[in-house]
Symmetry: C2
Subunit: 204 residues, 2 copies
DNA sequence: CCCACAACTTGCGTGTCACGCACACAATGC
DNA sequence: GCATTGTGTGCGTGACACGCAAGTTGTGGG
């Protein structure tokens, strides 16, 4: 998938980035949402097998490193929509793409809970989710034909979809939601995607 | 409006908070989006007439101080919706409330541009806009009757509206948009608010 | 196969910052 | 008036982001 057409350099770079991100997230989860200040840069770097100086060649703050996995996930939403069949209606395509992306591997609940219920991470978490908007808006515009008159539509819809994903995630984390992520996601998306017939109106 | 029923303490506190926020924003605008690192805490505190230590009794980062005005504005969205007549349909009420809030005093374009086009401020800016979601969701739920089955609807719609406001702001700042904020805002909101008949489908 | 070039990692030094702590002072309630 | 509580301020500390200048490891041409 990404082994070819990528030199050794690029692969190593990707690997270290993921190593640092995973180390940061793991350490943060270990300390819990109330002990984030105890996660030192030195510990993250050591756990990832790099020097502290290298760590901040990749990330300029602990928060950014911890939320990196969500940021990378968000970047894939546009691609996911583009890989849907071209004749599929926009609403169905968006819902299918998002659900597919977020259920192939179901998100790590501990990680999601960490970044969504830690006040110090709120800004970076929002940045991470918002990263879906740009590519997603372009993918939507590509489908609708980039109607210049309704220029705002793709961008606004992308923002709405990103927001729905975020809200669905928060809802999924609430105690008592032990089921899978898919139905919650579908329900949330059906609130903002135009003319989307919810297959399960009862949702939660 | 807030002079009565608020002790001397609370009023002073509010005043210093605004003083620090305004000073931070003004200094940031002076340096421009590329010189944010040159805005020192000491300068903000001095400009606001307080000590640096007091500054960070109110804000724990320069970014937070700079974006404070937008955060305070966002907190008023819920209130704005609640003050709409109860018999008004939800879609019209939301659009009217938001437009009213964002055009009574039209937003300061320099300030908006500062917080929306400075990468280092992205996280805090998103936090500021997102602060509208909680109160707004409650206000929406109060109108729809807090249907427990479609529990997600108010939250998702609030997120969509907040996103639309943010996108509209970004669009308004683009060079060439010299008109007022209202029509752009209306156009953006009509993309996410259900069954909203756009009075001007051509928008931009 | 070897070599020059570019990219990446690392250690060090520096300026800035957030925050705990202790104290002075103003506002509040009885 | 007086005790209490909340707020402003100075100082000290620990951590961090980042520029700089090596050393080290991939990359591509001859």
């Amino acid at each position: 998938m990404n082994d070819d057409a990528m030199g050794l350099r690029a692969r190593n770079k990707q690997a270290t980035r993921e190593a640092i991100g995973n180390a940061a997230l793991r350490l943060a989860i270990d300390q819990g949402p109330h002990g984030l200040a105890l996660v030192r840069v030195h510990d993250i770097a050591t756990a990832a097998g790099v020097s502290p100086r290298t760590y901040n060649n990749y990330f300029s703050s602990r928060e950014e490193a911890i939320c990196a996995f969500q940021a990378d996930q968000s970047k894939r939403v546009g691609q996911a929509l583009r890989s849907r069949p071209a004749d599929e209606p926009l609403d169905e395509a968006v819902i299918a793409a998002v659900i597919e992306l977020y259920t192939d591997p179901e998100p790590d609940k501990a990680g999601l809970r960490m970044i969504m219920s830690t006040p110090e991470l709120e800004g970076e978490a929002l940045k991470a989710f918002t990263m879906a908007e740009g590519p997603l808006a372009e993918a939507i515009a590509a489908r609708t034909g980039t109607e210049s008159g309704r220029d705002l539509f793709p961008t606004v819809m992308a923002a709405a979809v990103a927001g729905a994903i975020r809200v669905a995630g928060r809802h999924w984390l609430e105690p008592g939601n032990t089921g899978s992520f898919a139905p919650i996601l579908r329900h949330a998306l059906s609130c903002v995607v135009p003319a989307a017939p919810p297959a399960d109106p009862q949702g939660q």
